[in-house]
C-alpha cells in the first residue's frame, strides 16, 4: 500500500458520532412524532441556510479526520516499505500546495513581498535593505505592479468555475425533483425560484451558491497567492484556519458525546428512584458545579501535562500526544458541563414519573429498566437535543479562551484559539499584522453564528413550552 491508515481516538469517536446521527435520522424518519418537529426546523429558510453552512464545515472536518501516513520513496534496509513519521489527512492532500508553500515570515494577504525588510547582497556588490519577493506568493508575476489585475482575473475565473459547478449540480437536482413532483423541468425551476416549495430550497441553493463562489475563487487563487497571508513562521493562514475547523468541531461535538451518558443516566436515576440515589446525584453535581469551571479544567489539564511529561513512552508520536490531549480536554469539558443537563433531566423526570401512564406501567408490573428506557427516556429526548445544539457554539468559543489561558489544546495543534494566541501580540506592530486574527475571527464567527441560529430553530421546534406561542 502506498500509505498506512492511522486511526486516532478522536477520529474513531467522530465517526461513531456520525454513525449515531445517521441512526437517529433513520429512526426519526420512521416515527411521525419525531419527524414533525424536524420538519418544522426544515421549513425555516434561515435554519436551513445555516444547516448548509454547518454541512460545509462538517465536510471539511470529516475530510480532516481520515488520517494516514504516506510511504517514503526509499525502502528500509531490508527492502521493506517505510512510512513517513508525519500523519496526514485527506484535507492535507487536497491542500498540499498550501501546506508546502511556506514563506520566511509574515506576509500580508495577496502580498508579493515579505512583511519585514531584509539585508540583501545585490549582484553588483552593494548591500541594501529591501522587502524581498516571496518564494511562492505571486512568484509567477514578472511585474508585481500587475498583481491586482491578476488576482481579479484568476479569482473571477475561479468564481465562475464555482458557479458552473453549482449550476450543474442544481440542474441534476432539479431534474430529479421535477420527476418527483411530476411536473416539467421549467415548472420545477419556477417553483423553486418563487419559493413555492415545502422546504426552503431557494434559501439552501442560494447559500450553496455563495459558498461555492467563494470556494471557487479561493481555490483558484490559493496556489498562486497567500489568500489570507502567512504567519510568523511563514505558514499559510488559510491552511491553518481550515485545519482548525476539525479541532473546533471535535470540541463542540465530542464533549457532548462523552458527557451525555453520565448526564442522562444520573439525571434519570435521580428523578426516578429518588431517595438516596437522588441525594448522591445531587451531591455530585452540586460539588462539581461549585468548582469554577475554568479552574477545574486548568487543574485537570495541568495534571495531564505533568503526567505526559513524566510518561513520554505512552505517546509515541507528537500527533498522538496532541490527539490524546484534545480527547482529554473534551472529557474534562464534558465533566464540567454535564451538571446543567443532569439537573434539568432530574427535574423533568420527577414530573413525568407522577403522570398516569407511568403509574399505569408500574401497576402492570413493568420493570424499572423498561420504564426508564421505554417510557421516560423518549419523553426527555427533546431536552437532551436542545441542550446539545445549544452547547455546541459555547464550546467552540470556550476552546479559544482555554487556549489563551494555556490549558487548551496542544500548542502544536491547529486551532483558532492557538491562532489568536499567537497573533494577539502582533497588534502592537506597525503596520498592524491583522490577517491571522481576522482569519480566525471569520472562520469562528461563521461557524458559531450558523450554529446559534440553527440551535434557536431546533429549540423553537422541540420545546413544548414554546410550541404554542
Amino acid at each position: 500500500m502506498p500509505f498506512q491508515p492511522v486511526l486516532l481516538w478522536t477520529d474513531a469517536l467522530l465517526f461513531l458520532l456520525v454513525g449515531l446521527v445517521v441512526l437517529f435520522a433513520w429512526q426519526a424518519r420512521r416515527h411521525e412524532h419525531l419527524r414533525a418537529p424536524w420538519r418544522e426546523v426544515a421549513r425555516r429558510p434561515l435554519a436551513m441556510a445555516c444547516a448548509v453552512v454547518l454541512g460545509a464545515y462538517a465536510l471539511i472536518g470529516l475530510a480532516d479526520s481520515v488520517h494516514f501516513r504516506p510511504a517514503l520513496d526509499q525502502p528500509g534496509p531490508q527492502g521493506e516499505r517505510r512510512y513517513a513519521p508525519e500523519v496526514l489527512s485527506l484535507l492535507d492532500l487536497a491542500l498540499a500546495p498550501l501546506r508546502r508553500q511556506s514563506e520566511k515570515t509574515y506576509s500580508a494577504p495577496f502580498a508579493v513581498r515579505l512583511y519585514v525588510k531584509e539585508t540583501v547582497h545585490l549582484p553588483d556588490g552593494t548591500v541594501q535593505r529591501i522587502r524581498p519577493r516571496l518564494r511562492w506568493g505571486g512568484a509567477h508575476l514578472e511585474d508585481p505592479a500587475r498583481r491586482w489585475a491578476d488576482v481579479a482575473a484568476r479569482g473571477g475565473r475561479g468564481a465562475l468555475w464555482g458557479l458552473a459547478l453549482w449550476a450543474a449540480a442544481g440542474m441534476v437536482w432539479l431534474a430529479w425533483r421535477a420527476r418527483r413532483w411530476g411536473c416539467r423541468w421549467r415548472e420545477a425551476l419556477v417553483r423553486v425560484a418563487a419559493g413555492r416549495t415545502e422546504l426552503p430550497w431557494r434559501a439552501m441553493w442560494l447559500t450553496g451558491a455563495v459558498l461555492l463562489l467563494l470556494a471557487g475563487a479561493v481555490a483558484a487563487l490559493a496556489p498562486y497567492y497567500h489568500v489570507l497571508g502567512t504567519d510568523k513562521v511563514g505558514q499559510d493562514v488559510l491552511y491553518q484556519s481550515l485545519k482548525s475547523v476539525r479541532t473546533g468541531l471535535v470540541i463542540g461535538t465530542l464533549t457532548t458525546l462523552v458527557m451525555l451518558p453520565f448526564a442522562v443516566l444520573l439525571g434519570l436515576a435521580a428523578g426516578y428512584f429518588r431517595g438516596w440515589v437522588d441525594d448522591v446525584v445531587q451531591y455530585l453535581y452540586t460539588t462539581l458545579n461549585a468548582i469554577p469551571g475554568v479552574l477545574l479544567i486548568a487543574a485537570a489539564v495541568l495534571m495531564l501535562q505533568v503526567y505526559m511529561a513524566n510518561h513520554p513512552e505512552a505517546f509515541p508520536t507528537a500527533t498522538e500526544r496532541a490527539d490524546m490531549r484534545l480527547l482529554f480536554l473534551c472529557l474534562i469539558l464534558g465533566i464540567t458541563s454535564w451538571t446543567g443537563l443532569c439537573r434539568m433531566l432530574r427535574g423533568e423526570t420527577l414530573k413525568l414519573r407522577e403522570l398516569d401512564y407511568v403509574q399505569a406501567a408500574q401497576a402492570f408490573g413493568v420493570g424499572h429498566g423498561r420504564i426508564l428506557l421505554r417510557h421516560l427516556l423518549p419523553n426527555l429526548m427533546h431536552i437532551v437535543l436542545i441542550s446539545v445544539v445549544l452547547d455546541f457554539s459555547a464550546l467552540v468559543l470556550a476552546e479559544a479562551v482555554l487556549s489563551y489561558v494555556g490549558v487548551g489544546v496542544d500548542p502544536s495543534m491547529h486551532s483558532w484559539g492557538n491562532m489568536i494566541n499567537a497573533a494577539r501580540l502582533e497588534m502592537a506592530r506597525e503596520p498592524v499584522v491583522w490577517w491571522t486574527l481576522a482569519a480566525a475571527f471569520l472562520f469562528m464567527f461563521a461557524l458559531v453564528l450558523a450554529a446559534n441560529l440553527f440551535a434557536d430553530a431546533v429549540r423553537d421546534a422541540f420545546d413544548p413550552r414554546l410550541r404554542g406561542a
Partner: protein, 325 residues
C-alpha cells in the same frame, strides 16, 4: 431565619469536603509530588537530591494521609492531606510554590478585581435590562427582529475579539486610555474604563436575549391582561408591572453571581494587566504553581456556595409567597 442559615451552612460543608477531596486526589494522588518536582525542575537530568530538596522546601515531603513515623495526633496532622487540604477550611492558604504568602496576595488583589468586576456587573445588568425592555416594547416589529439578529451576532463573537478590538480601537488608534496597567486609588479609573466597557459589550448579546425571555414570560400572565384592561398604555404596563415582577427572577438569578465577583474575570484582567485575582490565577496556571491553583479552586467553591445561600435568602426577601421551611 438564623436556624435556616445555620442548617444551610451545614449542608454546604459536605460539598466543600467533596471539593477538597477532589482537588486532593487531582493534585497529589493522580500525580505524586515527585512528578511535580520533576516537572518544575525539568524532566531530564534531575537528581533525586534536587527533587527531595524541592519537596522539603514546600512541605511536600510528608506522607499523603498517614505519617507512621510521627507520634500521637501528629500521625494525622503531619501529612500532606492535613497541611495542604484540611488547612484550607481555616482559610490558611499557606505559601505558593514560588514562596509568596497566598493569603496576603489574595487580600491585595481583591480590590483591583472588584474595581473591574462590580462595574461590569452593575452596568451590564442595567444595560441588558434596558435593551431587553426596548426589544419587548417593540415586539412583533422589525426592531425586534433585527435586534434579536444583532444579539445572536454579538453572541457569536469570542470574548477575546471584543478585548482585542477594544484595545486596538480605543487604546491604540484613538489613544483615549492606556492599553493596560493599573494605578493606585482613584487614579485607576482610566485603566478601568476600557475593560469595563469591553466586559459590558461582550455580555450584551446573551444578556438581552435572556432578559427578553423573562419579560415575555411575564407578559403572558393574567395581571398583565388586567393592567391592559384597566386601560394602561404599553409603556406603563412594561415599566410598572412587568419590570417589577420580572425583577424577582432577575434578582435571584444575579445574587448567585455576587460572591464570585471577588474572583474577577480571568481574561479581562490578564489582557488589561489588572493585578486582580483573575490574572493571579492565570499567572499561576502558566507558571504551574499548583498551590495557588488549589487555593483558588477552594476559594471559588466557597464563594459559589455563599452565592447559593444568598439566592435562597433573597427569594424570601423579595417574594413574600416563598417561606423558609
Amino acid at each position: 431565619m438564623l436556624a435556616y442559615i445555620l442548617r444551610r451552612l451545614l449542608y454546604a460543608l459536605p460539598i466543600l469536603v467533596g471539593v477538597n477531596l477532589l482537588t486532593f486526589v487531582l493534585f497529589f494522588v493522580v500525580n505524586s509530588p515527585d512528578d511535580m518536582a520533576r516537572m518544575q525542575l525539568g524532566v531530564k537530568r534531575v537528581t533525586p537530591e534536587a527533587v527531595e530538596a524541592w519537596k522539603r522546601e514546600r512541605g511536600y515531603h510528608l506522607p499523603l494521609l498517614y505519617n507512621a513515623e510521627a507520634e500521637g495526633l501528629d500521625r494525622l496532622t503531619e501529612t500532606i492531606f492535613f497541611q495542604k487540604s484540611v488547612s484550607l477550611f481555616a482559610f490558611e492558604f499557606g505559601r505558593s510554590d514560588a514562596g509568596s504568602d497566598i493569603g496576603y496576595d489574595i487580600r491585595q488583589r481583591m480590590g483591583p478585581s472588584l474595581a473591574v468586576a462590580v462595574p461590569v456587573f452593575v452596568i451590564g445588568l442595567a444595560v441588558n435590562i434596558t435593551f431587553a425592555l426596548l426589544v419587548v416594547f417593540f415586539r412583533a416589529t422589525y426592531v425586534e427582529l433585527w435586534g434579536m439578529v444583532l444579539c445572536v451576532a454579538l453572541m457569536s463573537i469570542s470574548a477575546l475579539f471584543y478585548i482585542i478590538a477594544g484595545q486596538y480601537l480605543v487604546g491604540k488608534v484613538m489613544r483615549l486610555v492606556p492599553i493596560s496597567g493599573f494605578g493606585e486609588g482613584l487614579a485607576a479609573w482610566k485603566f478601568v474604563v476600557l475593560p469595563v466597557a469591553v466586559g459590558v459589550v461582550s455580555g450584551i448579546g446573551s444578556g438581552v436575549r435572556w432578559y427578553r425571555t423573562l419579560f415575555l414570560e411575564e407578559l403572558g400572565k393574567d395581571y398583565v391582561r388586567t393592567a391592559r384592561a384597566k386601560g394602561l398604555g404599553e409603556g406603563a404596563v412594561l415599566a410598572r408591572h412587568v419590570l417589577r415582577n420580572a425583577l424577582i427572577p432577575i434578582l435571584t438569578g444575579s445574587v448567585v453571581l455576587l460572591p464570585l465577583l471577588f474572583m474577577g474575570s480571568l481574561i479581562l484582567e490578564s489582557f488589561f494587566g489588572i493585578p486582580g485575582l483573575g490574572s493571579y490565577t492565570i499567572d499561576a496556571i502558566n507558571a504551574q504553581d499548583f498551590a495557588i491553583v488549589r487555593a483558588m479552586v477552594f476559594l471559588g467553591s466557597v464563594l459559589y456556595l455563599v452565592g447559593l445561600l444568598l439566592t435562597d435568602l433573597s427569594y424570601t426577601l423579595v417574594d413574600p409567597r416563598v417561606r423558609l421551611s
